[in-house]
């Protein structure tokens, strides 16, 4: 029983990158782009974070640069989709391959290492103790002593929900995503809004990468995103583009990961557990599909 609080604590830590990336992907989705390239942007963020922290010793600057790197990768990605009408799925997959290839190429050429960058005394992100919360049993263990990015991830959920539903920006973005022609008629430039949402998604993914390489551990490896960009995709599909269900799904996937780390030898084999987020998406999409089909049939009958 006394494993529960530590497990939840590492679930919070491990779900941070998934929540961040999923929030970014969600904003992008509402803006009209399915972002398959979160994985690559996360990897770029993780790499740049380690690089900058190593060279400057400043993990905050490193985190900010990682966010910038994510946004920077996102811009050409977005322009290719919005201006050159490239297929978003293929561009996403292509960018993932391209970013992984570029980093994998630079590691030996520039830094003389293969597959990983592990500088000695790398400054990771400090864990913040929340005064007052610390002394609360269980809750203190679960929520205190985390990186700033964790608190940012938690705060991003209501912030994104509020921005999307209650602000002019949110309405314009959703208009650009749902009905670009109507948006254009209303004087909104849908493509510019789409690009902006992709850059925001890139920034979120870059921060997610920084949490991986400076928060959870303090090193970079080429495989460290380990499909989390796709798990984030799973989360916002599972949450049907709504912030709270998306965050809940992302946390659930983080919890599953934490249980695996914390309780090895639990009943299910780890490979089967790894499949769960992906199965969940297929189940969720199927349920949505069945509901839609039924509605359409009913509409035809009446």
């Amino acid at each position: 029983m006394n494993e529960i609080a530590p497990t939840l604590s590492s679930a919070v830590e491990l779900s941070t990158p998934i929540v961040l990336a999923a929030m970014g992907g969600l904003i992008n989705l509402r803006g009209g782009i399915v972002n398959i390239g979160l994985e690559g942007k996360m990897l770029a963020g993780a790499f740049v974070a380690v690089l900058v922290s190593w060279k400057t010793g400043d993990p905050w600057l490193a985190t900010a640069t990682a966010a910038g790197a994510g946004g920077l990768v996102a811009l050409p990605f977005s322009l290719l989709i919005t201006r050159l009408k490239a297929n978003e799925i293929i561009v996403g997959l292509g960018f993932n391959v391209l970013v992984a290839g570029l980093i994998g190429y630079l590691l030996p050429v520039v830094f003389g290492v293969y597959g990983a960058l592990n500088p000695p005394d790398l400054a990771g992100l400090p864990k913040l103790r929340i005064p007052g919360l610390d002394d609360v049993p269980v809750l203190g263990t679960v929520l205190s002593d985390k990186t700033l990015l964790t608190y940012l991830a938690i705060a991003s959920v209501p912030a994104v929900a509020w921005t999307l539903n209650r602000t002019t920006w949110g309405i314009r973005l959703r208009a650009a995503g749902e009905n670009p022609d109507a948006a254009r008629a209303a004087g909104i430039r849908p493509l510019a809004w789409r690009d902006a949402s992709t850059v925001v998604a890139g920034v979120f993914a870059g921060l997610a990468g920084a949490q991986l390489s400076l928060g959870i551990v303090s090193l970079f490896t080429i495989g460290m995103t380990a499909g989390r960009g796709f798990i984030a995709l799973a989360a916002f599909y599972f949450g049907a583009g709504r912030p709270w269900p998306t965050a809940a799904a992302a946390f659930l996937f983080g919890l599953v990961e934490a249980i695996q780390v914390r309780l090895p030898g639990s009943q299910l084999p780890p490979q089967v557990v790894d499949m769960l987020p992906y199965l969940a998406v297929i189940v969720a999409l199927t349920a949505l599909g069945i509901a839609r089909t039924r509605r359409e049939r009913r509409a035809v009958l009446t």
Binding site: L93, L98, P269, Y278
Partner: protein, 354 residues
Amino acid sequence: MTEAPAVLPQPLLARRLGRAVELVWALTPFVTALLVGAIILWATGRNAVDTYRLLVRYSFCDRDAIAATLAATTPVLLTGLATAFAFRAGVFNVGVEGSLYFGAFAAAWVGFTYTHVAGIPLMTAALALAAGAGALGALLPALLKVLWSVDEVVTTLMFNFIAIGFTSYLVNGPFLAEGTANSMSPLVADQAGLPSLSPPSQMSPGILIALGAAIAFWFVFARTTFGYELRTVGGNRRFALASGISVRRAVMIAMLVSGLIGGVAGGIQILAVNHRFIDHFSPGYGFTGIAVALLGRNTAVGCVLAALFFGALANGGATIQFFTNVPIELIQILQGTVMVFAVVQLGRGIARRS
């Protein structure tokens, strides 16, 4: 009447011009990728011209090099054809990697289970089961699409990870070879292995199967009614419906055939190269297949040329990493660029969705 001949050359010229434009479009991603690669090589102090020259030499200089290139071409030609088959019918199957894993495991299972069976029947059974397993892998996304219009892009993409995870479970649990700690199945029986056509390379009869598949691909789309139906469904679904073509049947078959070819790709790779199923064995053959299909513009000849390009890169790239200080990741950079720039032009029509 006498003026008629004078009119003729014009459409002919237009067609020729059209073809030339098509060719330029087709070569754009290829050239762009080489340029991007050259810029990166140059920026990191490598001579791009020398690097590319060495790549060509290591891939094609002699019999052994060509055989090794063809060996590396085999899996990506099959995954490319698998992807292109679905794309042609307007079905966006990005799950060939998953079918490849299922096919690979099925072939390995036949090979290490029925060790007393003679060579030819064993190989045939292994490849047949690989094909079946690959198709089975595509069945669920296909059914979901046909029954409830569940978007196949997401389901097939997710399905890749499920297939990789599931086969990883099989090979770490029930089918872990005794005496090995490293997530691999027992070796397949010796007689089940596809022999090398040109030792020491791993070029197997698999390349002939892949070329045969390319010819069959061409024949289906160029010469059969069914291929015409698939193309019509891919080109204009409403028109297809109006012409009385069963769109559901076409989508279903396109997905299953795509999975089937992907499964065969996995089976051949196991029987010719790995000789056992190894956890996470594929370096992304299925995803390279997407690049092959795009670069080859979903045609048989295009896929053969594009697969040869990626096969040469994989083979030459490995050698070049060994002899010079150019990391093999250069190939990934080229592949990613090809994918991105291939759809920039495809935005004009071929793979456009909804």
